[in-house]
Each structure stands twice: as structure tokens, then as C-alpha cells.
């Protein structure tokens, strides 16, 4: 009897008890449901952007595009402002990310060094800004006095540096760049600059990738600063223009001579909204897989041991 059982079951397979199997089944079902709940809204946005607006307004459940149309995309892309906005956003994102990542890494590294004079006070001052700010109006007045109102430079500088990011980098550096490494390098005649470029940076690729992603996403989504500080519409980033286009579609119909068009536009608002979400998030979604492997590692190290 025993030999029969042996022939039926592989020797190295541990037989699962019924409660274990039940747990696995429940856990798998739960995870599958969770995955569907997470993915469906994203899938819905993509599908809805290609679906007839009447079906969207009717609240129809969508699993695939129905009444296929691309009117939302046509409307978004035929507007010159979308292209200008894309160019501006790319510029602000690339320049802002370069500047922000550079300053964040340098500051994080400096704070990780025990021999930085006054590091304790400096760090407290940095942290103070996380909790207390001057408020919108004083900031506006200050930016005006600095001559940065309506400048592209402001869009690069503002929001590039976050104290939270600096703390994450500091924690990473403290954990991954031991003092002994600096001692050894110094003995070999390595200066601070060379040590940072040749040793610290190659060892900090993971946190650099995380910072680049954080800062780039923040610049890509940046909307409020442009709304407040820019007056020349040719400098607006994509997000402001997209919002503008959407607002136009749902505005009150006050142009008497052309009601049908306004009504049509109002009803199309949902399709346009979904098309815009796809247009504005697609580049970030495309970039994410390339930094994903660093991202998980970097975030875990930076946060857990912070």
C-alpha cells in the first residue's frame, strides 16, 4: 500500500494539509481580486478614452472599448497648446530633475558625513521647513522680488528640492557608504571630490534612480506653481493646458450662436477627460519599468533603515 502511494506522489513533494490548501486558495483569490481592483480603474480609463461618450455618461460597465472613437484624442492633439505644453513639461522635467537630483544627492551625502560642521543644526533647520512655511502670499511676494515671476528658471528651481528626499538619501548613504571606505580611499590619496564621484556615486545608483523618479514625477505633475507664477501661456506645462482644455469643454454655454457645439463638447467632457489622463500619464508609465528594479531596492533601503 505504502509503495503504491510512493509511486503516485513524487518523493520530494510535501503533502499539503486541507487547511493549508484552503488558505492558499483564499489568499490567491484575495490577491487576484486585489489585482483586479487595482488594475480595473487604469484599464477603464484606457478603454473609456476610446469609447462613445454616450455610453460613458450612461455609466455602462466597460471591459473593452464600445462605440470605438478617438474624438477625445483628436481634440487633445489638434490643439497647439498640448504640443507646447509637452515641450515645456519635458524641459522642466529634465532640467528640474537634473538640478534637483544633483542637489539632493550632494546634500544627502554631506549630511551623511559625520565630519560636516554644524550638521545637527543644519538638519534641524531643514526639517523645520517641512512643518512651517511662509504661506502662499509671502512666497509669491518673495518670488516677485527675486524677479523670478513668469520665468522658466522658477519652474526648474521650485519643487526640485525636498527635505524628505534629502533625508532618504542621507539614510541610504549612512548605511551603504561606511566610514572605513572613506578612510581607505583617503589613505590611497583620494580627495573628497574623487571619493564622491568614483566611489559614492557608483554605489548609490539605486537611490539616485529613486530620486530621479521621485523628482521627475513631481515635475511632470507640477501644475500649481505654473498656475500661480506664470503669466505667459507659452511657458505653461502640459498639465495646465490639459486642465484648460477640459474646463473649456464643461464651461457654461454662453456663446449663443453656437449651442450645438458647446453641448456636444459638454457631453464629450468625460471622453476628453480620460484621453487627457492617458496622454499625460503615458510617458511616466513608459519610463517606470526602466527604473523599477532600482526603485524597489532604493526605497526599501532609504526608508526602512531611515
Amino acid at each position: 500500500m505504502q509503495s503504491m502511494i510512493r509511486t503516485q506522489k513524487p518523493a520530494n513533494k510535501i503533502r499539503q494539509s486541507w487547511d493549508n490548501r484552503l488558505f492558499d486558495a483564499l489568499a490567491n483569490t484575495f490577491l487576484i481580486l486585489l489585482t483586479i481592483i487595482t488594475i480595473y480603474p487604469l484599464w477603464f480609463i484606457l478603454v473609456a478614452s476610446f469609447t462613445d461618450y454616450k455610453l460613458i455618461n450612461a455609466g455602462t460597465l466597460l471591459l473593452y472599448p464600445r462605440g470605438f472613437q478617438t474624438a477625445g484624442y483628436e481634440l487633445v492633439f489638434e490643439d497647439w497648446r498640448v504640443w507646447t505644453g509637452y515641450a515645456n513639461t519635458l524641459f522642466y522635467t529634465i532640467a528640474g530633475t537634473f538640478f534637483g537630483a544633483m542637489v539632493t544627492i550632494l546634500a544627502g551625502y554631506a549630511f551623511s558625513r559625520k565630519d560636516l560642521p554644524g550638521s545637527g543644526i543644519l538638519m534641524k533647520l531643514f526639517i523645520f521647513t517641512m512643518y512651517f512655511g511662509g504661506g502662499l502670499i509671502p512666497t509669491y511676494i518673495m518670488i516677485n522680488k527675486l524677479g523670478l515671476l513668469d520665468t522658466r528658471l522658477l519652474m526648474i528651481l521650485q519643487g526640485s528640492i525636498s527635505v524628505h528626499n534629502i533625508i532618504v538619501v542621507r539614510s541610504f548613504m549612512k548605511t551603504n557608504i561606511p566610514d572605513e571606505l572613506l578612510d581607505a580611499a583617503t589613505i590611497d590619496g583620494c580627495g573628497n571630490g574623487t571619493f564622491f564621484v568614483s566611489i559614492v556615486m557608483p554605489l548609490s545608483k539605486a537611490i539616485l534612480a529613486v530620486m530621479v523618479l521621485y523628482i521627475a514625477v513631481s515635475h511632470w505633475n507640477s501644475y500649481f506653481n505654473a498656475l500661480i507664477y506664470l503669466t505667459d501661456m507659452h511657458k505653461y506645462p502640459l498639465q495646465v493646458f490639459l486642465r484648460e482644455i477640459l474646463l473649456k469643454t464643461v464651461q457654461n454655454a454662453d456663446v449663443v450662436e453656437n449651442m450645438e457645439e458647446v453641448l456636444e463638447m459638454q457631453q464629450m467632457a468625460a471622453t476628453i477627460r480620460y484621453s487627457m489622463i492617458v496622454v499625460s500619464t503615458a510617458p511616466i508609465l513608459c519610463a517606470y519599468p526602466f527604473v523599477q528594479k532600482y526603485f524597489v531596492k532604493g526605497v526599501m533601503i532609504g526608508s526602512v533603515k531611515g
Binding site: 455618461n57 512651517f132 502662499l136 509669491y140 500661480i228 501661456m233 450645438e260 458647446v262
Partner: protein, 581 residues
């Protein structure tokens, strides 16, 4: 100990931050102080010499004398900084607009435009006001509340002789637009902080959305147009029981559709049949009416109770849309387009993408001896009274007024300001002005719409009276270069709406509160009452329609009206009507 010190430091930090927030008021006070020299500037800039003689432009002098008696180029060389909100046009360079090019050529005044997107407009205007970093003027809707809260930042144009000297064209138009003349622009302290733009839209906006019944449904159920509430009930029952929309499914019809969340499609509009009507004040506006100069409560009347009972009967028998209190405007629109409603409210059927001839105005008498009254009033102010606001800091007040006046110096200029270049959306033919339809055939304008061609600033830079834009009964347009009387086109949304308003405006109310700005504190008193009163009444209405109204619930409601300040609210409107504030 260290923790205590840290806690103390944080407390001090928070106090400093809070004080910084309070500092805003001081900014405004500073602005008030610095505004004084500007007032003097305007007074001393009154024209005593003719700059036209110095500039030697006879043609321009003649043109100016025709308008305001001042040489057009009196302020030549002045530069104005003006903020504007981008309209529907795409080009942000307003100096390319014909009307502004003409203005610069004639007046020699150059405008440095800062054109903001609609979204940035409200954010930045608020910041500019708060920081005191103001341009010479705002030429788009600053908003009544922004002016009300920052009154001292805007130039007081009520100075004696100022408007008479610099904007006579406006003063000429105002009596044709506002029944109470210049008082429509005055704040309770007597000051005038902005000048108006736009036009009164007659035959279009006076009425709210109108009750419409589906004629095809009526034909399918083989019934006549109802004229009483009982007949309407019978018709709605037939809609419910039969395949009124003819799609083969007798169960998908919703006899009476409404959407409480969407303005203009609320169930309260059916109170019209019971002699209760709104002016244009939102849902709460149903609970007062002006009768012979007296603001009269309507929420406590037998008509109100009769309406609630009737509506409950409809709801209980499945004749009202059960989702009406919760559905969104989009969901309501989807049901209309799917032909699920037999009766609902519309601006006009064409605006809902429906055939005009398939729908008819539904007017029934709810109670014997009670005359139905339609929502809306026979005068409705659609002008924009805060769209030309001059900063108190501006040193160019006379030049700004002169420029604004020049834009309105002839009917043609007003039309250019309103509808753009002549020969596109409008044209002149033998001295008369007509809408022009020929642009639609011109390949040059392919992809353009009326709104992108005019934008909204162009329309709003001047105030037009009905006389100015009376090109329209809207029925004669230039077609193939010749004015042609258009036959009624049931697919044209404008014609459909105008037809409905013209026909049913006599059913609307005659009495209304004159357009004016009100004291913020006094408005605050009203809004304070409304904060609790509105939801209390709305909840009672919804509950009564869903569950019915009993003597007990009605008595409680009447007591609540008193408790929640309903009669103070009525008194507030009486005072407003009487011009007490």
C-alpha cells in the same frame, strides 16, 4: 528638559506662522494708503488743453469729437498694463485683435496685455490683490466677491464728473440696459468700483429651463395634451404602462424625469403648476415670490402642500424617476438621449440633441383657482458688472476710461468688440447690421467656430444695449451676400430657444429685485440663514415626495420654518426689494 524647550520652540513657530497669515489685512491697509495719490492723479488729469492740436491729427480729432468731445489721441503715448482672462480664442496676443489695433491707432494708447488662462485667472487675481501687485486694470470678470473683499484696491469711479467726462458713451447706454441706471453699479457706500460689459440677452435667458412633454409618446399612447394635474397624472400612467418610446420594451419608460443635483432640472420647477415660481435664484428661490411689491412666503402655503402630495402620488406610483434625487447631470442627459423620459425640463429640445418638433411645452393647472406661473422674470441681467475694474494704484485712470469709452464710440465698433471683424460673423448691409452666415462656407474658417472667432474678451470689452445689437430677432441673416429672412429651422438651437422664450415669457413673473451690489455684511446675514434653511427645506421636500406628507410632518415643517429663520429670510428680501440696503 530638551523636550520642553523643543515644545516651546514649536509653539513659538506656530504662533509666528499664524501671525504671518493675519498679516494679509495689513497689506490691504497699506494699499489703501498708497491709493490716495492715484485719486489725485485722476482729478488733476482732467482735460484742460487739446493735445490733438499738438499732435495735429485732424481725422482723429473729428472722430473723437463725435464721441466724447475729447480728442481721441488725448492720451497718446500712454502705456496701460491690463490683465485679461483668455476666452475661447486660441491666440493669446490681444494686440492682434482688430478692435484693439483700431483703438491703439486712434487713441495712441498702447496696452501691454497679460492674458491668463481661465484656470490661472482666479488664482492669480486673488494673489495680485493680496500682494497689492496690481496692473492698471482687469478686463475680465474680477468677481463681485473679490471687489467686495478688496474694495479699497479698486478705483472709486463715482468721483464727481469723472464718468461724465471720460465715459459718456457708457452713460448713454446704461439707461437702456439697467432699469435703475447707474445705481446698478453702485455699492452700498455709493462708490462705483467697476464698469460693465456684455449685453442683456433678451428672448433667450429670461426663463429657466422649460417643462417639455414628448409628443411622440403622447401619440403612441393615444392621449391629448394634458391641461390639468389630473390629466397629467393619467398621461404619465399611460407612459408607464405602455411602450411609449416604441423600443419594444414596455418597462423602460420613466414618465417624469428630473435631476436634483443638476441646476435647472430640479423637481421644484413643477411647483409652477401650483402657482409657485422661482425668479432665477437656485432651488431656494422657489420659496419666495414678489406679489404687488410684497415679498411673499411660499413654503408655508396650501399650494406647497398640495404640490408635495401630488408629487408623492407620482413617486409612489412609479411615475417619477426614482433616481431623480441622487443622479448626476450626466446620467440625466444619458437618459434623455436614450429616449427614456416622457416629461422633463430642457433649455430647448435641440440643446439636448433632440428633434424640436417631437417635444412640446407642458403647461398644466395644478389647483383649481390657482394660476400657474413660470420660473423666470421678464428682465434678467446678463451683463457683467465687474469686468472692467481699475486699480486704485493706477496712475492712468483717465486714459483707461478714455480707451474704454473709445471702444464704444460707435455701433460698428461695439459690434467689432462683440462679434469680431466685420464680414465674418456679422456684416453691414445698406446701413443695417445682420448676422452673417457666409463665413461658414469660407474655407479660410474651416475648423473655426463662432466662439473661437470671437473669444469672450472681444465680446465683453463693451456694454451693448438691445438697440446696439438689434440685428436680431435672429431671423434675418446675410446669406450669399444678401440679407435673407430665415424660415424657422427646427434643428437650429438658437431659433428653437428664442421661439420658446418669446412664446412663454408672458407666463413669467413681472416683479423682480433690481440689479445692484449689496453690502457684504448684509449678504452674509442672508447666507447665514440659508446655510441651515436650505437643507432643512430640501430634506423635507425630498422626504415628503418619497414618503408622503402628513398633518404631523407638515406642522413640524411649519414650526421649523420659523425656527430656521424663514421669515427673517423673507424680510431680508423685502428690504432688498425696497432698496433699504
Amino acid at each position: 528638559m530638551r523636550k520642553q524647550i523643543l515644545a516651546a520652540a514649536l509653539a513659538v513657530g506656530m504662533a509666528v506662522t499664524a501671525l504671518a497669515g493675519c498679516g494679509n489685512g495689513n497689506t490691504a491697509q497699506t494699499s489703501e494708503t498708497t491709493a490716495a495719490p492715484a485719486t489725485e492723479a485722476a482729478t488733476t488729469a482732467a482735460p484742460t488743453t487739446s493735445a490733438a492740436e499738438e499732435n495735429g491729427s485732424e481725422a482723429q480729432t473729428e472722430a473723437a469729437e463725435e464721441t466724447d468731445g475729447l480728442p481721441a489721441d488725448y492720451f497718446a503715448g500712454t502705456e496701460l498694463n491690463i490683465y485679461a482672462k483668455l476666452g475661447n480664442e486660441v491666440d493669446t496676443d490681444y494686440n492682434k485683435k482688430l478692435i484693439f489695433q483700431m483703438a491703439e491707432e486712434a487713441t495712441g494708447i498702447h496696452v501691454n496685455w497679460t492674458v491668463l488662462s481661465a484656470d490661472a485667472w482666479s488664482e492669480q487675481v486673488n494673489l495680485l490683490l493680496a500682494s497689492g501687485n496690481l496692473p492698471d486694470a482687469f478686463v475680465s470678470d474680477v468677481g463681485e466677491s473679490a471687489i467686495r473683499d478688496n474694495m479699497e484696491l479698486f478705483y472709486d469711479l463715482s468721483e464727481e464728473g469723472l464718468l461724465e467726462t471720460y465715459v459718456p458713451n457708457l452713460l448713454e447706454t446704461i439707461p437702456d440696459v439697467y432699469p435703475n441706471g447707474l445705481d446698478a453699479l453702485r455699492w452700498p457706500d455709493g462708490s462705483i468700483r467697476s464698469l460693465p460689459t456684455g449685453r442683456p440677452e433678451t428672448d433667450y435667458q429670461e426663463l429657466k429651463w422649460l417643462p417639455m412633454i414628448n409628443k411622440r409618446w403622447l401619440e403612441r399612447v393615444n392621449m391629448d395634451m394634458p391641461t390639468t394635474a389630473d390629466e397629467l397624472y393619467e398621461v404619465l400612467c399611460a407612459f408607464r404602462d405602455q411602450d411609449a418610446n416604441g423600443n419594444g420594451d414596455p418597462n423602460d419608460e420613466i414618465p417624469f424625469g428630473f435631476a436634483e443635483q443638476k441646476g435647472n432640472v430640479d423637481i421644484e420647477q413643477s411647483m409652477n403648476y401650483f402657482g409657485i415660481a422661482n425668479t432665477r435664484d437656485g432651488i431656494i428661490g422657489h420659496y419666495k415670490m414678489i406679489k404687488d411689491g410684497v415679498v411673499t412666503p411660499t413654503a408655508n402655503t396650501p399650494e406647497m402642500r398640495a404640490w408635495l402630495e401630488y408629487m408623492h402620488k407620482l413617486m409612489a406610483e412609479g411615475l417619477l424617476d426614482p433616481e431623480g434625487f441622487s443622479q448626476t447631470g450626466d446620467e440625466w442627459t444619458a437618459k434623455v438621449s436614450q429616449d427614456l423620459y416622457g416629461v422633463t425640463y430642457m433649455f430647448s429640445p435641440v440643446h439636448q440633441g433632440l428633434n424640436f418638433d417631437d417635444w412640446e411645452f407642458l403647461w398644466v393647472q395644478g389647483l383649481e383657482g390657482v394660476e400657474p406661473v413660470l420660473d423666470g422674470i421678464k428682465y434678467y441681467d446678463t451683463t457683467h458688472k465687474t469686468e472692467f475694474a481699475i486699480s486704485a494704484k493706477s496712475e492712468n485712470v483717465p486714459a483707461l476710461l478714455h480707451w474704454y469709452n473709445w471702444l464704444a464710440s460707435s455701433r460698428e465698433l461695439k459690434m467689432i468688440g462683440f462679434l469680431g471683424d466685420p464680414g465674418v460673423l456679422w456684416d453691414e448691409y445698406e446701413g443695417e447690421i445682420y448676422l452673417n452666415d457666409d463665413w461658414k462656407k469660407d474655407p479660410k474658417y474651416e475648423g473655426e467656430t463662432a466662439s473661437t472667432l470671437t473669444g469672450s474678451l472681444g465680446k465683453n470689452c463693451v456694454l451693448l444695449s438691445v438697440k446696439d445689437y438689434a440685428y436680431d430677432d435672429r431671423n434675418t441673416h446675410i446669406v450669399d451676400g444678401v440679407p435673407t429672412v430665415l424660415e424657422f429651422d427646427p434643428t437650429d438651437s438658437t431659433q428653437g430657444r428664442v421661439k420658446l422664450v418669446k412664446e412663454y415669457l408672458p407666463l413669467a413673473q413681472d416683479e423682480y429685485i433690481l440689479p445692484k451690489f449689496e453690502d457684504p455684511d448684509v449678504v452674509g446675514q442672508r447666507k447665514f440663514i440659508e446655510t441651515d434653511l436650505t437643507p432643512m427645506i430640501s430634506n423635507f421636500v425630498a422626504t415628503s415626495i418619497m414618503e408622503g406628507v402628513t398633518d404631523e410632518s407638515w406642522d413640524t415643517f411649519l414650526k421649523n420654518l420659523e425656527t430656521y429663520g424663514y421669515y427673517d429670510w423673507i424680510e431680508w428680501y423685502q428690504n432688498s426689494y425696497d432698496g433699504n440696503f
